[in-house]
């Protein structure tokens, strides 16, 4: 092998090296010289040190003997380990613990003085101890404080007095001693300390200055000038990030305090409930200044209906309050409803956001709870709070998007109903939440004129002192019907009661555990509040029946009015006029027309209960039922936002829409509801069967928990139809035309919906042909 004829390749760290024993390679010596191909690695030592005598000796010894010889080690200065007094010095023993030691990250500062007494001090101490007792630790603490207070210049005796708070004699003695000692001390302090750097750089070369703070300046290589710039940028970025972090922190804090507020409010409510402050007297006493202006922050226009829904849903998403399946469902429903338009509303929502934001949630919570408690405390001033809220009527006319286009009004606060927020917070179990939540904010209520129990409701005073009842649907509705018939049987109009019976069956949800008897017992035991009108107006029967605190006169009066209006299905128009809710009417009518246009098969669409009732045929019956359900729906959707809704002066309809007016019975509220819902549906998708739109999602996702809502949706639709039937109006016609124009879009929607429905729904419901079904009622009528 000619050694010089080739150059060895570079050593490749990734290439396997076979391992030989020398004895396996007799001819190895031939090729040793090629070893130079592997570059010599540096030892990592400083050159001069590497040549040091002892090291070289050790290295050569090692290479010769393969291990260190005793006399070839590198000599080092000696160390002794024979401190005899060690055991006396370090007293006590430490048993080794089973667990590994783990130091707590913070603390362990036992505030011991850093100063340690020396023998000189001990002499002083002994002397002092003849006159008074002073412990070493006490002395050390004194000196320690004096030292630490004397960073720049020595403390004076007067300062020392303030600092030490000791007996004058002792203080004087120690202080004088300290001053003397310090003057003799060679170091800057009696507590030996590492020299600290001075910021002026004068200590840069002081060998005794150690542990300097690292400056922010990055070391850059001179040939990379941009390093500096990018470093600066990075710094800036970092600053900005940290600002973001700060902002997020603040948001977090804000949200926390919101939650806190909610909890507090809840507590207030509970306390008030416990002390029986149902009229709110106590609260108003306590919060008189605050309560002066009850804030109803949620003005919602009928026309806005859909937007609001959106908003609500989005809100829900963002608020994420309860984690109820219900939310999820709602959110989903939005998407399902209008795959086409979803984006737009959302954008609007974001735009709108700043307006509705300020202070809202907190207030809202407050209001809600207040409203809950003072079901019958009417803040008539509420409406005045939003004198500016415009009616949405004019919008409709011009809106190219149809009546359903949403227009925001200046000075108008729009709040979405947060369907689940409260309930979510109050009750974890969704099913419970449905009923319990309702029960906590609504009371059983009976009307005097159609003498019947309207189920869960609460009342408010609307514009002009009208009393509005916000009704809520619940699983109890069916049972309540029974209650109706049971309690009021004598005074009940025949027809109504007739119809109601069938309703019951449908209404009672399979899952609802409550029965009539339960309910009655609840009421009797005062666990449930039950409000009935006094017998003054109409032939309300069974006055003090439950022993519940009866509603105050105003309330009953208001109720009465309502009942009057709503007494019979035909009276609806009167109501409208009375309330001047032309807008709502129009919408309803429009809706109705639209629905009329929709194909008959749609009938089946509504929830089974609904369907049944409707099919059963009698409008009255339908109405009532629908109302109930509608109410429920609204209650569900509007419970939270309800108070706010009252505020829309210009749009009394709205209030009704939100279910406020529902108690009125059949007539208006249903319309509004329907409109709103339908509106939402329509607006977004631009399809007539609007009501179907919102309904559908609900139905898809029907889960036991969501049942109430579910119903609500369904019901909402039907009442609307009903109304329309009652009286077609020009606006409705308009709507109809719009609808027709947009009808082409409908088909698209329908399949999707229906499919969804199928997925999630019971077979019966599936039969529904999507949106069209909703319209069915119209046809029927």
């Amino acid at each position: 092998m000619s050694k010089l004829s080739f150059r060895a390749r570079a050593l490749d760290a990734a290439k396997p090296l076979p391992i030989y024993r020398n004895k396996d390679l007799p001819d190895l010596n031939d090729c040793v010289s090629i070893n130079r191909a592997v570059p010599q690695m540096p030892t990592g030592m400083e050159k001069e040190e590497e040549s040091e005598h002892h090291l070289q000796r050790a290295i050569s010894a090692q290479s010769v003997f393969r291990e260190k010889k005793e006399n070839m080690v590198i000599p080092v200065p000696e160390a002794e380990s024979n401190i005899t007094y060690y055991d006396r010095l370090y007293k006590g023993e430490l048993r080794i613990p089973k667990q590994l030691f783990h130091i707590q990250p913070l603390g362990l500062d036992n505030e011991q003085p850093d100063y340690d007494m020396d023998s000189e001090d001990e002499t002083l101490l002994n002397r002092l101890n003849r006159k008074m007792e002073i412990k070493p630790i006490q002395f050390e603490t004194m000196v320690d404080r004096l030292e630490k207070a004397s960073t720049n210049q020595m403390v004076t005796i007067t300062e020392a007095k303030l600092l030490l708070n000791e007996d004058d004699y002792l203080l004087k003695a120690v202080y004088d001693y300290w001053v003397r000692k310090r003057k003799n001390c060679r170091g800057p302090s009696l507590i030996p300390l590492i020299k600290l750097e001075k910021r002026d750089g004068s200590t840069n070369n002081d060998a005794y200055v150690a542990f300097r703070r690292r400056t922010e300046k990055m070391q850059t290589r001179k040939n990379r000038k941009n390093d500096e710039a990018s470093y600066e940028k990075t710094l800036k970025l970092r600053r900005e990030f940290s600002r973001t972090v700060t902002i997020l922190e603040m948001i977090k804090r804000r949200e926390k305090s919101k939650r806190e507020l909610l909890h507090l409010t809840l507590e207030v409510v509970e306390k008030r409930y416990q002390m029986g402050d149902f009229t709110g007297e106590v609260l108003s006493e306590v919060t008189a200044p605050l309560a002066e202006k009850p804030v109803y922050t949620v003005p919602i226009t009928v026309t806005n209906g859909n937007r609001h829904n959106h908003k609500a849903e989005i809100k829900i998403k963002t608020h994420k309050s309860g984690g109820l399946p219900y939310h999820g469902y709602h959110h989903v429903s939005v998407k399902d409803e209008d795959p086409f338009d979803f984006v737009r509303p959302k954008k609007k929502y974001t735009r709108r956001e700043p307006l509705c934001r300020p202070g809202r949630p907190a207030k809202r919570q407050h209001i809600v709870n207040k409203a809950d408690i003072k079901q019958y405390d009417f803040h008539s001033s509420g409406e005045e709070d939003y004198p500016l809220s415009p009616s949405s009527e004019p919008d409709e006319e011009n809106d190219p998007d149809g009546t359903f286009a949403f227009r925001r009004k200046a000075g108008c606060h729009y709040l979405a109903p947060c369907l689940d927020q409260t309930s979510g917070l109050l009750w974890d179990h969704p099913e419970l939440a449905g009923l319990d939540a309702l029960r906590h904010r609504q009371s059983l209520t009976a009307l005097s004129v159609p003498q019947r129990c309207v189920g869960l409701a609460r009342r408010r005073v609307g514009r002009g002192g009208r009393v509005l009842l916000d009704r809520a649907s619940s699983d109890l509705d069916g049972v309540l019907k029974q209650l109706d018939s049971g309690v009021f049987s004598s005074s009940f109009p025949k027809d109504l009661s007739d119809h109601q019976v069938p309703t019951q069956n449908h209404r009672t949800m399979p899952g609802s555990a409550s029965s009539l008897t339960d309910l009655l017992s609840n009421i009797q035991a005062l666990r449930w509040r039950f409000f009935r009108p006094r017998s003054t107006q109409g032939d309300a029967s069974g006055e003090g029946r439950t022993g519940r605190p009866s509603m105050d006169n105003r309330l009953s009066g208001g109720l009465f009015v309502h009942t009057k209006n709503s007494g019979s299905g035909g009276i609806t128009e009167e109501q409208y006029q009375v309330h001047q809710q032309a807008l709502a009417q129009m919408q309803k009518q429009q809706l109705a027309q639209l629905q009329l246009k929709a194909p008959p098969p749609q009938q089946h669409f509504s929830l089974p209960e609904r369907q049944n009732t409707r099919t059963a045929g009698s409008t009255d019956c339908i109405i009532s039922k629908t109302l109930d359900s509608v109410g429920a729906h609204f209650a569900a959707s509007a419970v939270i936002s309800a108070p706010g809704q009252v505020n829309n002066e210009n749009k009394p309809d709205n209030t009704s829409v939100n279910g406020v007016v529902q108690p009125l019975g059949t007539s208006r509220p249903p319309h509004s509801t329907s409109t709103s819902q339908g509106g939402t549906g329509l607006d977004r998708s631009g399809r007539t069967p609007s009501s179907g739109g919102p309904l559908l999602p609900a139905s898809h996702s029907t889960t036991p928990q969501s049942l109430p809502n579910h119903r609500g949706h369904g019901s909402a639709v039907s009442p609307a139809h009903h109304h329309h039937n009652a009286r077609p109006s020009p606006s409705s016609l308009k709507l109809a035309t719009m609808a027709t124009s947009s009808l082409d879009r409908v088909p698209k929607v329908t399949p999707a919906i229906s499919s969804m429905a199928r997925d999630n729904h019971e077979p019966e419901r599936l039969a529904l042909n999507g949106i069209s079904e909703t319209t069915v009622p119209m046809e029927v009528t």
Partner: protein, 450 residues
């Protein structure tokens, strides 16, 4: 008697390891007068500066006294890094290498300036000069006037003066031990005149007297390093201390360590370091045996910054244990690592020994695979051991294992290597048991600042 001044060279008597007299050439670094006599601080040429000492005049061989050459014998030479005081010849080199350790060669401008100094300069002048030197270097190759902020072994020239050339602490009492420091350490200056500096064995606080230590021990209830114990097997434990969270202890530890580590710098704070303190337990507590520090984030694959076995525990396998532990940490981190440079002489020997044993252990454990000759890549070795590739290669080279045979590189194990290894492994009783390690590496880059 002729005046022996700084810079003079002459043979000085010292006892060698066999306790025999020898007269190595030494240089006078400092002269001090104590009542009745003079003392000379001498550095033995070609010996590590840890052996520098104060000697009495009777140990000087005045017959062979060499006076300093004009230019070279200025005190400035004492400012040079390296453990040896500079001879005039080597001074150039040393000045050149005076910068941060990672820039080994440096333009010699500073040296020219130094040479221009006619005779001894007073210290302030010297500092000025040094500043100039730094400035000139700043402009020439961007070395900042303050040491770089990473690493622990920066040889910053601010310390390379006569002050840091000389040991300043005579003796340290730590627990049962009295230690003779090897190098300068910036303990408070007023403590440097004490015959003995007392340290609390557990918190390492420095105290000027036994009385103070006694008093301190009534207040200090530490019986182990103030950190989390991340390893325990038998009496050996490791404690992890965060240089940012436990500054006092970290600083005290650094001050103590500086007494035995020439190139350690205490210029900057301890924030970016973790300290792993190895202790041995007895009924009194967990006694510090040694430690190594480690940068929380190393840009250069360092898994050890400073590493030290305290002198009383040296030459008993603890150093290797520390090194092994440092690589165990790297294994957990899934990284390869290498100690920060420069290595000291003892560091080089220890690491070489550890690397050799670790690599030989692997090579000898490789069994023929279906009759095929066992083979392994350098990368494999590096991966298994967490030893950085360069260190693997240098070790293979140092052991002379790499050969070029028939067109390829091979590893050859000679008999004496194998025997030597087996003998060494028999003596190596202390091993790290990775099962006893409870360590979760933190990603320090994700934290704000260390």
């Amino acid at each position: 008697m002729v005046d022996v001044v700084e810079g003079c060279r002459l043979p000085v008597l010292r006892k060698n390891q066999e306790n025999e007299d020898e007269w190595p050439l030494a240089e006078i670094l400092s002269v001090k007068e104590i009542p009745g006599r003079k003392l000379y601080y001498v550095h033995y040429i070609d010996f590590n500066k840890r052996l520098d000492e104060w000697v009495t005049p009777d140990r000087l061989d005045m017959k062979k006294l060499q006076f300093p050459k004009k230019e070279a014998k200025t005190p400035t030479k004492n400012g040079l890094p390296g453990s040896r005081p500079s001879s005039p010849e080597s001074e150039v080199v040393r000045v050149a290498g005076a910068g941060p350790q990672h820039t080994p060669s440096r333009p010699p401008q500073p040296q020219a300036q130094q040479k221009s100094i006619p005779t001894k300069t007073s210290l302030p002048d010297f500092q000025v000069l040094q500043q100039q030197a730094q400035d000139s270097q700043d402009s020439s190759d961007g070395i900042p006037s303050t040491p770089r902020m990473t690493g622990s072994l920066v040889s910053d020239r601010s310390h390379d003066d006569i002050v840091t050339r000389m040991k300043n602490i005579d003796c340290i009492e730590l627990g049962r031990h009295r230690l003779k420091p090897w190098y300068f350490s910036p303990y408070p200056q007023e403590l440097t005149t004490l015959p003995i500096l007392y340290l609390c064995e557990f918190c390492l606080k420095y105290l000027k007297s036994l009385k103070c230590l006694q008093r301190h021990l009534t207040k200090c209830n530490l019986r182990h390093p103030p950190g989390n114990e991340i390893y325990r097997k038998g009496t050996i434990s490791f404690f992890e201390i965060d240089g940012r969270k436990n500054k006092t202890y970290s600083q005290n530890l650094c001050l103590l360590a500086k007494c035995f580590l020439d190139h350690k710098t205490l210029y900057y704070d301890t924030d970016p370091f973790l300290f792993y303190v190895m202790t041995e337990y007895d009924s009194k507590g967990f006694h510090i045996v040694g430690y190594f520090s480690k940068e929380k984030e190393s840009t250069e694959d360092y898994n050890v910054a400073c590493i030290l076995t305290l002198p009383p525990y040296q030459r008993r396998g603890y150093g290797k244990l520390l090194i092994e532990f440092s690589y165990e940490l790297s294994k957990v981190e899934g990284k390869t690592g290498t100690p920060e440079k420069p290595l000291s002489d003892l560091g080089l020997l220890s690491y070489r020994s550890y690397w050799s044993q670790t690599i030989l252990e692997i090579l000898m454990d490789l069994k023929p695979d279906n009759g095929e000759r066992p083979q392994i890549t350098i990368n494999d070795i590096s991966e298994i051991t967490s030893v950085k590739k360069e260190d693997v290669i240098s070790t293979l080279q140092y052991l002379n294992l790499i050969n070029y045979y028939k067109g390829q590189y091979i590893l050859t194990l000679s008999e004496d290597i194998v025997e030597g290894h087996e003998r060494a492994m028999q003596k190596r009783h202390l091993r790290i048991d990775s099962k006893c390690l409870h360590f979760t590496p933190k990603d320090w880059s994700k934290r704000g600042k260390w």
